[in-house]
Structure formats: C-alpha cells, structure tokens
C-alpha cells in the first residue's frame, strides 16, 4: 500500500490503474482522501465526500456540476465510456479531472480499494 491513512495523490492513482486522462490540461497533483461509487447523481450529491474520487458510468454533463458542487477530486468513467465534448469542456472549466478506464466498475473499485482508498 503506497498511501498513508488511505490518502493518495490523483496522479498516483492514474499511474497505478493506467487510467486515460481526458482532461490533461488540469493539475492532477491533488489529494484523494477516499472514493465513492454510484450512478445515481442524487445519491452522489447526498453521500459523497469532499476530495473523493467518483467512479461512475454516467457521462452526462451533469456529472461535472455534481462533482464541482461536492468538491470531488475527480471522476473515473468505467468500461471505457467516452464523455461528450460538452462534458469535457465543462470539466476543464470547473477544474474537475475526468479519467477513463477500460475496466468494469467491479474490477476498478477492487483495485482502488487495494490501493488503500476507502469510502470516506
């Protein structure tokens, strides 16, 4: 486990899980204190924590607004899902890093957990 008390830098997660960064112009040296997984935006609004990494398959523009509202550390889209141009434009404007993974949610979250991240 490379993290202390389950905290990691986003760039480390990207490297460890070979994520593709869709917003390369954003600073990826930011702290991730935990993770949250949900495809219901209302649930993410209600239950995610600041500086969480959010794993979802939703690619709608609204995910950026939710991440911005909750001050999330970034969004990982699973199954290689490709966000719309509008979503990425808003991600850049709102300073929300968006990454994609070829892995399905189960596999991806298992690896995040193995890195030491928890839901907090």
């Amino acid at each position: 486990m490379s993290s202390e008390e389950g905290k990691m830098e986003l760039q480390e997660i990207i490297n460890s899980l070979s994520l593709e960064v869709k917003t390369p112009e954003l600073d990826l040296h930011r702290e991730v204190t935990g993770g949250y997984v949900s495809d219901l935006l209302s649930d993410v609004i209600a239950n995610s924590q600041k500086n969480n990494i959010w794993v979802t398959l939703q690619i709608h523009l609204n995910i950026i607004a939710v991440a911005s509202l909750k001050e999330l550390a970034g969004i990982i889209l699973v199954n290689n899902r490709n966000p719309d141009a509008d979503t990425l434009k808003k991600a850049n404007a709102e300073n929300i890093p968006v990454m994609t993974s070829t892995l399905p949610t189960f596999e991806l979250v298992g690896r995040l957990y193995a890195l030491g991240l928890r839901c907090r």
């Binding site: 935006l41 709608h60 609204n62 607004a65």
Partner: protein, 246 residues
C-alpha cells in the same frame, strides 16, 4: 370534425437550472407563435412556478399552455406530468416539493432558477435543488399524477441518462404511462426499430427545449376538435376520432 393541431409538449423555462435564461415565458410564447405551434406544455424540473405567467401570455396569443412538470423519480427517471389546470399542477408541485431531495441550488454548479413575470422581470430565484430527485419511486410518481387527473408521459425514452429505459433497463409494464416521448435525437425509423415492443403505448415527440432555438425542433400532430387538455387526453386514448399523428 377533428383537425390537426401542432403541439410541443415539453418545454423548459428559465426556472429549470439547465435552461437558458432567455427561456422566459414571453420569449417562449412569441417563439411558439412565430412557428405556428398551437399548444405547448411547460415542464420545468420539479417545479411549476413559471406556468401561470406563461399560461396568461399564451392565452393572449391564442396558444394553449398545458400546465406540466418534469418530475425526477427516486430512480432518476424523468416523467412528464401534464394537468388540466394550474390548481392541479400546483397540487402536484406541493407533493414534489415535499419529497424533493433536500438542499439548496448552487447557481454556479447547476445554473439559475428564475421565476419571472410577464415582461421578463425577475420575481424571485427558486432556492430548491430542482436538479435533484424526489424520493418517490416511478410508480408512485405516476400514481400521484393520475391522482390529480393528469397525464403521465415517460420523458425521452431514447436517452441513456434520465430516461426510463436508461435508468431501469426496460419499461415496467404495470407502470401505466399514458404516452412515451421520443426525443429529437432519434429518428422515427430508428425509434420504430428500437422500441417496437412499446408500440401499444402512444408515442409523442417534443423538443425538450432548453433554449429558444430548440422550440418546435420536434412537435407532435394531434387531431382534435379544440386545443385543450381534455381533447389531448382523448387523442392519447384514440377516442372519439381524436388521435395522435405520429
């Protein structure tokens, strides 16, 4: 003898956080009038606070404004509720407000929620989290709409996000939708091919307009005697020679 009316039954106003601020009741009515649309329904997300003004302006320009809302169920399925009067939509709004996810709108994240008057002046900013969802499951939302004698339409069933099929995989047969909406992004041929199993429920197309230029990009033809809610209900049932032209 029924004649054809054009209707755009899914239009947002500037009260919806995701809609353009130019979507004022006055602009919407003028745009609809210029396009020759006879009937519109105003369906803001989880609120009905701009409907009275739109209705009054529509009356002056000869456009029927059906009071409506686009309600978000607990599964994040969007459902259009259309009603026969302002009083009914406000009854529904009271239920929705009671069950809406708590929290205040963040204008920076989601956009402004503006309640306006007849001349585009701001009356107030709605503070509720209208982009959020209610804790009402889909079947409960439909039951409430029907309880207020309204029409329940599944919004944009062809959209992955917030459509009933995208959120729940298929349309539960017992849900009781009065109609299904196909959005502007899917052609009729494609819809016929993809959703043929749902052809027993009437289909409509509408613009889901969030900006003025969207209004009327898709409309539905209705054979009615008059452009009224009651006639629309008959058309969806295919009763008394009224019908939806699709």
């Amino acid at each position: 003898m029924p004649v054809e009316f054009r209707a755009d039954l899914h239009i947002h106003t500037c009260l919806s956080p995701c809609a353009d601020l130019f979507m004022t009741p006055r602009n919407i009515i003028e745009r609809a009038a210029s396009l020759g649309i006879h009937m519109i329904a105003v369906c803001d997300h989880n609120s009905a606070e701009n409907i009275a003004v739109t209705h009054d302006l529509g009356k002056k320009r000869g456009i029927t404004v059906i009071p409506g809302m686009e309600i978000s169920s607990s599964e994040e399925v969007h459902i259009l509720g259309l009603f026969n009067s302002l009083a009914r939509v406000l009854d529904m709004q009271a239920q929705v407000y009671e069950h809406l996810q708590p929290g205040e709108n963040d204008e920076h994240a989601f956009g402004m929620q503006v309640v306006v008057n007849e001349v585009d002046e701001v009356r107030e900013f709605n503070k509720r989290l209208l982009i959020g969802s209610t804790d009402l499951p889909l079947d409960r939302v439909v039951a409430l709409i029907h309880g207020f004698q309204g029409i329940a339409i599944a919004s944009h069933i062809d959209r992955e996000g917030f459509g009933v099929i995208g959120q729940l995989g298929f349309i539960p047969p017992e849900t009781g939708f009065d109609a299904l909406e196909i959005s502007s992004r899917t052609s009729m041929d494609k819809a016929e091919e993809t959703f043929s199993m749902y052809r027993s429920i009437p289909w409509i197309t509408s613009s889901d307009a969030h900006q003025l230029a969207d209004i009327g990009r898709k409309t539905v033809g209705l054979h009615l005697n008059h452009a009224t809610f009651e006639e629309l209900c008959l058309a969806l049932k295919g009763a008394e020679r009224r019908r939806v032209i699709f």
